[in-house]
């Protein structure tokens, strides 16, 4: 064989071996340390929540709703085999899993927990029962909408789309008297529900969706229709002087309180409840309720009671044209125990409908139950 060809052949083989070894190393790294690998390669991951969690907690009493949630959670966990149960279970102090949610899809953000695609029909039924207990009827339907919307997306490659790539996880054991946490979500959906006795917080909660407009059971659905209509109604009710205070910019802005944001209070801006008339205040309440109404009736009532007591200090702000098509503007509601954001995406291409939005809810005083679980 020609010596040059021979050397070239050796070089090609050597390069192939090096590439194979490196590829194997990369696959190993990604499989063993997915979050670290995603952070290294993509720069998109979020670190553990910097939340201090006490080692021991006082016993608390449950109410009827918590008892029902715990019962449903135990039925679901009881229907899992040991391997599935291990996959779904984390220590309550696991702040890495606590923060492991995102608007981005699986693959880009490797999730933890038990993958929906691995559940049997019976197990999936038990999970739906648990979700239906935790959420309101509307909240459960919203979750169904988001899952159905996800399944309209092409499967993708590295970024994985489809409801089989949604995950369920528990931090701590479901209990009527000790704190624990339930997580469910995937691309565009994150339910983070911390339960401690009779008290339940849903902060942080990511909803929204992509696509937002699609067919569900033969009907046309616009997932964020109620909240965007509620915001538009409030804006339309304002006088020009009030609008000049509420409208903060001509263009929609991006989400502020997405994954990884924890521990600060967004500076309120816009028009405060104190400057609304008695006719306008119910419109602000309706806007807030359009999102908090995803929470079951019992825990929504508790959250709304806190919000209503602070309504005068609750601000409504709008970025975008006041006459934009429905859902094309960013809006935010900021109160002492509440931040709601609606951040439409890709709206500068002048599509006929907005088809992609991130909706965040946080209680800055009790994100992940921080008010209850700190030492």
């Amino acid at each position: 064989m020609n010596p040059i060809v021979s050397k070239l052949l050796i070089a090609v083989v050597a390069l192939a071996v090096i590439l194979a070894v490196l590829f194997g190393a990369m696959v190993f790294t990604w499989s063993q340390f997915p979050r670290a690998a995603a952070s290294f390669f993509l720069g998109v991951n979020t670190g553990p929540v910097p939340l201090s969690v006490a080692a021991r907690f006082d016993q608390r009493s449950a109410d009827t709703k918590t008892r029902a949630i715990v019962s449903r959670a135990q039925v679901f966990l009881g229907s899992l085999d040991n391997e599935q149960r291990d996959a779904a279970s984390y220590e309550f102090s696991d702040n890495a899993q606590r923060s492991n949610w995102s608007n981005l899809p699986e693959g880009m953000i490797p999730r933890g927990g038990l993958m929906l695609g691995t559940l049997s029909a019976a197990q999936r039924g038990n999970l739906d029962d648990l979700l239906a207990e935790i959420m309101s009827e509307k909240g459960f339907l919203n979750t169904a909408y988001q899952l159905a919307a996800e399944d309209t997306l092409p499967p993708g490659g590295f970024a994985k789309y489809g409801t089989e790539f949604y995950y369920v996880a528990f931090l701590g054991e479901p209990s009527e008297s000790q704190p624990w946490m339930f997580q469910f979500g995937g691309h565009h959906l994150a339910l983070n529900v911390t339960v401690y006795g009779a008290d339940v917080t849903f902060s942080p909660m990511l909803t929204g969706g992509q696509p937002l407009n699609f067919q569900f059971d033969g009907n046309n659905v616009f997932i964020t229709e109620e909240e965007t209509r509620a915001a538009q109604r409030l804006l339309d009710s304002l006088t020009p002087e009030q609008q000049s205070v509420a409208i903060r910019g001509p263009q929609p802005i991006d989400l502020l309180l997405g994954p990884g944001e924890f521990g600060t209070v967004v500076a309120p801006e816009g028009i405060p409840g104190a400057q609304l008339t008695e006719d306008q205040k119910p419109l602000l309440v309706a806007l807030i309720d359009s999102r908090l109404d995803f929470i079951n009736e019992d825990d929504n009532a508790a959250a709304m009671a806190r919000v209503l007591s602070d309504l005068d200090e609750t601000y409504f702000a709008w970025w975008g044209s006041p006459t934009a098509k429905l859902g094309f503007a960013y809006f935010r509601v900021t109160g002492p125990t509440l931040v709601l954001e609606y951040a439409p995406q890709d709206v500068d291409e002048s599509p006929s409908v907005t088809d992609h939005a991130h909706s965040m809810y946080r209680d800055p005083t009790n994100d992940y139950g921080s008010a209850w679980v700190a030492p």
Binding site: L42, M108, D346
Partner: protein, 184 residues
């Protein structure tokens, strides 16, 4: 070299990332104000049609991978356009930290460049304070959205907190007034 190959292999393995592509360069500055620290987080989200160019700009030696030195150089360049002051006194932004997505990710319109830095301060709990933050870095896009945040203790301490943005949105002026302790 090892990292170059890993990134190359990642790109080959990934295929196109299609979620959330952004078609314009978005820039946010998040300013978190506390009694002892003012933290700045700058988020730059390249658009899918400019992501490769922006990554190439940061990648000074054009080897396809942004080294630590190249990333830090870009962080310093951006932060040179940022100013923060407390009660009229300029503050030094220290210890810049930066994350740069891969070229592939930046080109997808979903990769965020994140720059963080902070200034140590010692704010009195009983005085009023003004904090001004301004950013004029416009090499990638001329638009910035600046959002103030308050830490919990500071938020509780001041009964009146007001801020104003300039028309271009590059500058915020925060007034922390009516400290709770003075009301007691």
């Amino acid at each position: 070299m090892f990292r170059v190959l890993l990134v190359l292999l990642t790109c080959l393995a990934c295929g196109a990332v299609s979620s959330h592509p952004h078609d314009n360069v978005q820039q946010q500055a998040m300013v978190s104000i506390g009694f002892e620290r003012i933290a700045i987080k700058l988020l730059i989200l390249p658009s899918y049609d400019e992501g490769a160019e922006i990554h190439h700009y940061i990648d000074g030696d054009s080897d396809g991978v942004v080294s630590v030195d190249e990333a830090n150089g870009f962080a310093r360049e951006v932060l040179a356009g940022a100013k923060v002051s407390l009660n009229g006194q300029p503050l030094l932004l220290r210890e810049p930290r930066i994350k740069v997505p891969s070229a592939e990710h930046a080109s997808s319109g979903t990769g965020v460049i994140q720059i963080e830095a902070d200034a140590l301060v010692s704010m009195s709990h009983i005085e009023e304070h003004t904090v001004v933050f301004e950013i004029q870095y416009d090499k990638l896009s001329d638009g910035w959205f600046v959002q103030p945040f308050y830490d919990f203790e500071l938020n509780r301490n001041y009964l009146s907190k007001n801020f104003a943005r300039d028309a271009a949105g590059h500058r915020v002026h925060v007034l922390l007034a009516s400290p709770r302790i003075r009301q007691q």
